[in-house]
Amino acid sequence: LLVLCLPLSVADCPGTNSAQAGRAAACQGCPNQRLCATGGAAPDPAEAAELRERLRSVKHTILVLSGKGGVGKSTFSALLAHGLAADEAKQVALLDIDICGPSIPKMMGLEGEQVHQSGSGWSPVYVEENLGVMSVGFLLSSPDDAVIWRGPKKNGLIKQFLRDVDWGEIDYLIVDTPPGTSDEHLSIVQYLSATHIDGAVIITTPQEVSLQDVRKEINFCQKVKLPVIGVVENMSGFICPRCKNESQIFPPTTGGAEKMCQNLNVSLLGKVPLDPQIGKSCDKGQSFLSEAPESPATASYKNIIQRIQEYCDQQHFHEEKIR
């Protein structure tokens, strides 16, 4: 006798600090239910105040997300950081919360650097005077070291990154994330509620296999009330350097990011073509924007970065008006 399985309740974890912790419908069957229901997992209000204080001097915060792995989040985060830091008057911070696969140190040419502690906290590692970086990569002594941690331990480190790093006064805090909609994503949104998040930039590639995950990420943003600044379609076509014909290596069989953005009413910030120089620059730890200024991909990236900057400036403008 076959019985149809009921659709899974994907009602979400209400958050360990929510009034519903342990009591919501979603908590049924969660191994942490008893801990949450008895308040064991609630955050310390003093800790929340500490975070608020530490993040007081951050003007704009941008999360770089994707449901899908390998679409170019870290690449984009690194280039966004370089792009914004091109204005020497701006102070930019790049925080890498991909605990298991920290790509940012290599992409920023900072492999092998270590974190120093001072009286005022952990020092970020500076690429330029106005561009500081933090990643678990700086805490590992060997490139073979694996961070085999379950969720709670990852959350603890993310909290430390926000609480203990002495970022100073920052104009832009960019947060690079791992793929998915899990501990890291819930935690960063929770901890950053102490400051204001301007929004999320969502990265995808054109094919449906990516888009199906990215729609979930956009759904996540709606669930946690995170504004979506827009979507970037990466790896959007490849022009053969010899014959100049275009190939759709990752084909937009369902209309690509353009169609998805129309359907979900979010902005398409731009499309970036494949360029072998991008991967090379990342591997060398150099900014692709500086290494290949003539590439069509550079023009696309710069356009997108400008649109993000304009979005943030408008936010600031609206805040000022309210005050």
């Binding site: 942490n32 792995g69 990852k154 998915g180 995950d213 979930k216 053969c240 014909n245 991967g279």
Partner: protein
């Protein structure tokens, strides 16, 4: 350790995990093509998709609208064709709305993975392929722990050629070492692109990093798979690439990977 006779994995001859430290390198692609190749060699194959946030497997077989049923022994896996030679389990089949995000913290993910490993009634399989999300976290720890009594054959690690990817896969190798998971080999995916118009080869994501890593780590190198728009298209449409496009550029490498896995498994059996 004691294995109940009626365990749902009792009829599975070989279990192998497809891992990568890095996202988007082709774990699900390799899992799918390996299953198709093994099927064409006459084997019965199951795929267990433990990527709970981004389940790719159902669409790759064009069964994303299928539902899961329960029987006396547990959950019935979804068969991709009347032959019942490939069966699947994924959270993708269990969601009411496909665009709903599964926003779960570790403990809830772990609970479902334990159920996936214990409660799917696979029946008799030659191979169970476990497709994983990127990383070395809850899903990976829980899956390896739950499968340990069933002595998995080992793992295939997938990477793309460039250093940024290899950097993460090195950490995955450490994960395998620490959890006692044998590494069957490394696949270097997206290794070069041959322009279909003029045959010029461009190394879009660099070249050679996977092979070098295999040498450095002392594990077998299973081969380079090139970028192949026909493969990407097949995955989009849930088509059987191995059956329909044997002349396409990725085919020889994919067939070779399957052959090496078959050879390794029969050596292990004897």
């Amino acid at each position: 350790s004691f294995l109940p006779e009626r365990s749902n994995l009792a009829g599975v001859r070989h279990i192998l995990l497809v891992l990568s430290g890095k996202g988007g390198v082709g774990k699900s692609t390799i899992s799918t093509q390996l299953a198709l190749s093994l099927r064409h060699s006459g084997k019965k194959v199951g795929i267990l998709d433990v990527d709970l946030c981004g389940p790719s497997i159902p669409r790759m077989f064009r069964v994303q609208d299928s539902a899961v049923h329960q029987c006396d022994s547990g959950w019935v896996p979804v068969f991709v064709d009347p032959d019942k030679s490939i069966s699947l389990m994924s959270i993708g089949f269990l969601l009411e709305k496909p665009d709903d995000a599964v926003v779960w913290r570790g403990p809830k993910k772990n609970a479902l993975i334990k159920q996936f490993v214990a409660d799917v009634a696979w029946g008799d399989l030659d191979f169970l392929i476990v497709d994983t999300p990127p990383g070395t976290s809850d899903e990976h720890i829980s899956t390896v722990e739950a499968l340990r009594p069933y002595k998995p054959l080992g793992s295939i690690l997938v990477t793309t050629p460039q250093a940024v990817a290899v950097g993460d896969v090195r950490r995955e190798l450490t994960f395998c070492k620490k959890t006692g998971l044998r590494v069957l080999g490394i696949v270097e995916n997206m290794s070069g692109f041959v322009c279909p118009h003029c045959s010029e080869c461009t190394n879009i994501f660099s070249k050679g990093g996977g092979e070098e890593l295999a040498k450095h780590a002392g594990v077998p190198f299973l081969g380079c798979v090139p970028l192949d728009p026909q493969l990407s298209q097949s995955l989009e449409e849930g088509r059987d690439f191995i059956q329909e496009f044997p002349k396409s550029s990725a085919f020889p490498a994919l067939a070779l990977i399957a052959q090496q896995i078959l050879d390794g498994a029969s050596q292990r059996s004897s």
